[in-house]
Symmetry: C2
Subunit: 473 residues, 2 copies
């Protein structure tokens, strides 16, 4: 384990150097977060299809349990059960429109992960930074369990557990547990846990801060201890179900899915689950006794249990939906935790937008009307009134609006429109609008993937590290 340990220490040092201005030392957080003796036991794997650009290069890295799709370079990094999806990489000669500029892509975009430790982290490449269109980088960075680095080039940063950085270029920042950041470009910030921040520079700014005491029941993270709380317990309780599907090379399909839908071979599907037309179920999704209507999608690390989703629903990375009924076109953002009960189910009306990192955890029945924007912590009707607003009303805001722990500044219409456009893009990219001929998306293109396992050196100084592996067309 000599080389693996050296690599681990070297990365920690690099991150600390980047975070020195914030006086932040990641060592006491990280030391309890990852057990290197566990890491050496796992294999990693990658997918091959003719539809995704192929150029995987793994050098001097440890990749335990991680999955790769599309172009990716990983050098001197430790990726533990991370999910690196490069299926929306820009291609050479693509044109990117930005503020009136038409920027031509000069070479195929690549994900480059260097000198980083990513633990159970989802990386998705749909990036928008006009300064780095050909390279999606994650360097000198540590991210904790169930963090999402989503279209967010990242350097010298630390992401706490369940933190999400979305469409944001980030340099030398600390992102607290369960914080969601979509802010364009940030540097040298230390973001408190439970911050939900959406900023379009010059257009609008949305900030919500979780009350820390109630949040700590869901996720609590301090020095010298692994992360704790209900969110982690929930995931840990369902860990075993994934074990079998990772143990075998070829798995027979568990249920029938329409030819226009895609059920990933590394998803868990328990009885009785229904999958409609154009549905996308990504790997590490967990479905149980649920109904997914046409065009719904269940993204990586999401859980849908005892629930009914009418159709064209987005369940984003890490979102959890339990004992709930969702009308059509409901969007549930990253890492949200929607927890109804068998005797008092959660109902969500059509066209609702559940913001990323929303927690709805109810002891009595709760119905959210059609067309609401919902955020923050909600345990009853009063919380809902404080932490939601109809999208129609929200779009009328022009200036400053504060409500409970939420502060908004700028154009409500721009905020709502941007959200709606993005949801439309997600549905489109995932193949929800496929008509049998046109509008193919991930649901149709990801149906046939060859999954290939790779393993590290089994003993000696290099144990746990992978040999150099280069995979090209």
């Amino acid at each position: 384990m000599k080389e693996l340990l050296k690599l681990f220490e070297r990365i920690i040092q690099r991150v600390n150097i980047n975070l020195r201005e914030l006086h932040y030392d990641v060592t006491p957080y990280v030391s309890e977060m990852i057990r290197l003796d566990q890491v050496i036991k796992f294999y990693a794997f990658y997918g091959i299809t003719p539809n995704h650009p192929l150029n995987l290069q793994f050098r001097h890295s440890s990749l335990a349990g991680s999955y790769f799709l599309g172009k990716c370079r990983t050098t001197n990094s430790i990726l533990y059960k991370s999910d690196i999806r490069g299926d929306e990489l820009k291609k050479k000669e693509d044109i990117v429109h930005f503020n009136g500029h038409d920027i031509r892509i000069t070479k195929d975009e690549t994900i480059e992960i260097e000198d980083s430790i990513l633990i159970k982290t989802l990386v998705h490449n749909y990036s928008h930074d006009p300064e780095t269109l050909e390279k999606f980088f994650i360097t000198n960075t540590v991210s904790a369990q169930y963090a999402n680095i989503h279209g967010s080039p990242t350097d010298g940063s630390f992401l706490g557990p369940f933190a999400t950085v979305d469409l944001t270029t980030m340099c030398d920042c600390v992102i607290g547990a369960f914080s969601y950041i979509q802010a364009g470009e940030i540097s040298h910030l230390n973001i408190d846990p439970g911050t939900v921040w959406v900023r379009v520079p010059g257009v609008c700014n949305f900030v919500y801060r979780y009350p820390l005491e109630p949040l700590s029941q869901y996720i609590f993270f301090e020095q010298g201890r692994p992360p704790q709380g209900l969110l982690l317990d929930f995931v840990e309780d369902r860990k075993d179900a994934f074990q079998r599907i990772f143990e075998v090379v070829n798995l027979p399909p568990s249920i029938k899915v329409p030819s226009s839908a895609s059920l990933d071979r590394f998803a868990v599907v328990r009885p009785k689950t229904h999958i409609g037309e154009n549905v996308l179920v990504a790997q590490r999704a967990y479905l149980q006794n649920s109904w997914l209507g046409a065009g719904a999608n269940a993204q990586e690390n999401c859980y849908i249990i005892n629930s009914r989703l009418k159709g064209n629903n987005v369940t984003a990375h890490g979102a959890k939906i339990i004992e709930a009924e969702l009308e059509s076109n409901v969007f549930v953002g990253f890492n949200s935790f929607l927890h109804g009960r068998p005797s008092h189910r959660l109902k969500i009306g059509q066209d609702c937008i559940i913001m990323p990192h929303t927690i709805i955890d109810i002891k009595k029945p709760l119905s959210i009307p059609d067309g609401q924007l919902v955020w923050g912590l909600i345990t009853n009707e009063e919380d809902l009134a404080a932490n939601s607003m109809s999208l129609e009303e929200f779009a009328k805001i022009d200036g400053r609006h504060s409500q409970g722990a939420m502060l908004f500044e700028g154009s409500g219409a721009a905020f709502v429109n941007a959200f709606r456009a993005r949801i439309h893009h997600i549905l489109e990219a995932n193949g929800a609008f496929f008509d049998g001929v046109d509008n193919r998306g991930h649901a149709q293109r990801n149906q046939k993937i060859s999954f290939n396992t790779i393993q590290p050196y089994p003993e000696g100084d290099m144990v746990g590290l992978y040999p150099t592996i280069v995979i090209q067309p």
Copy 2:
């Protein structure tokens, strides 16, 4: 399947061009030998250990079900369930002694397979050709089921089913079914089926020819039909047992083995099997209700069923031992078929050498005394008398000796000594003489291997072909 089909046709063409002087067209043989629609369904895999030189490069090839260990390059080739073992590759700065020359190896030896189709073929790199010490090549070659290319650089050749080429450099040759050739260097030869030929140029020459009619019951191969016969039936009947072990990624060990022994994770072990100290069981070996004494080895594609091997026994690639009792130091050569019956077992005395490609198939009990050299087809006592000789007597031959269908010329002593030296080398290399500290061999070094699966493109023009994969330290 477009590209795979093109590749298949291109290789056939190249082999035919090489064999034009022999007026040999491999097309009608090959067309029934391999089903390309089957080929696309399998994954391939490779092993990683810190003890074997790592440099695998697969380019524009189809590798269905094949296994690789050690340095290997495969380009424009189709390998179907083949086994490529590079665990005795020469290393840079090694010295090879040859006829008084000390030849220094200038770079690490590599196996290079180009423009070839190998079907269920075992390739082992222990080559001796002083002209090509750094490169072990197999080019423009087709080999059929259960052929062995053993330390034999090969160009422009065709090997029939169960053919073995051993320590021989071969150019533009056809090797008939079940023929065994160990002849130093050969070119432009068309070898009849069932030929057993061992030649040390200037020293000795051993030739045995199987009677074709009885041989055809065991193996029969003609144009336009797949190979047939008892040998194929025997293997096919046991195919299912391998299925499960290839389906799962990690398999718990089936039986307890001593710490000095090695049982490959891709071997089949059925009850009740005993594995002694320093035993090596290679992948795709099949053991059932058998006792393997200390230092015995069971090589790739061998079958040992209801038998007892006392110790330091070599069961070479593809050899089959059923209902037999072998005393210590018995050598059973490539593809031999030793078939006793429950009521009349086959007994083989110590220090016997069963030549490669020997068939012993008895209807009454048969005992072979200690120290015999045995070859050819034996079904009863009379056959045994015709096709065996004590090693002591054999060593006395000096000149010409013919016996039954066997003809020997040259020095019997040199022949016997060379055989014994080689058996000693095999035991040594396999770790039979390990004393807990010194004399480590494959049995000790192969205990921990990471097996990694790789798969071809699952659809599109490239279906069945693998992307370029490069694996280096």
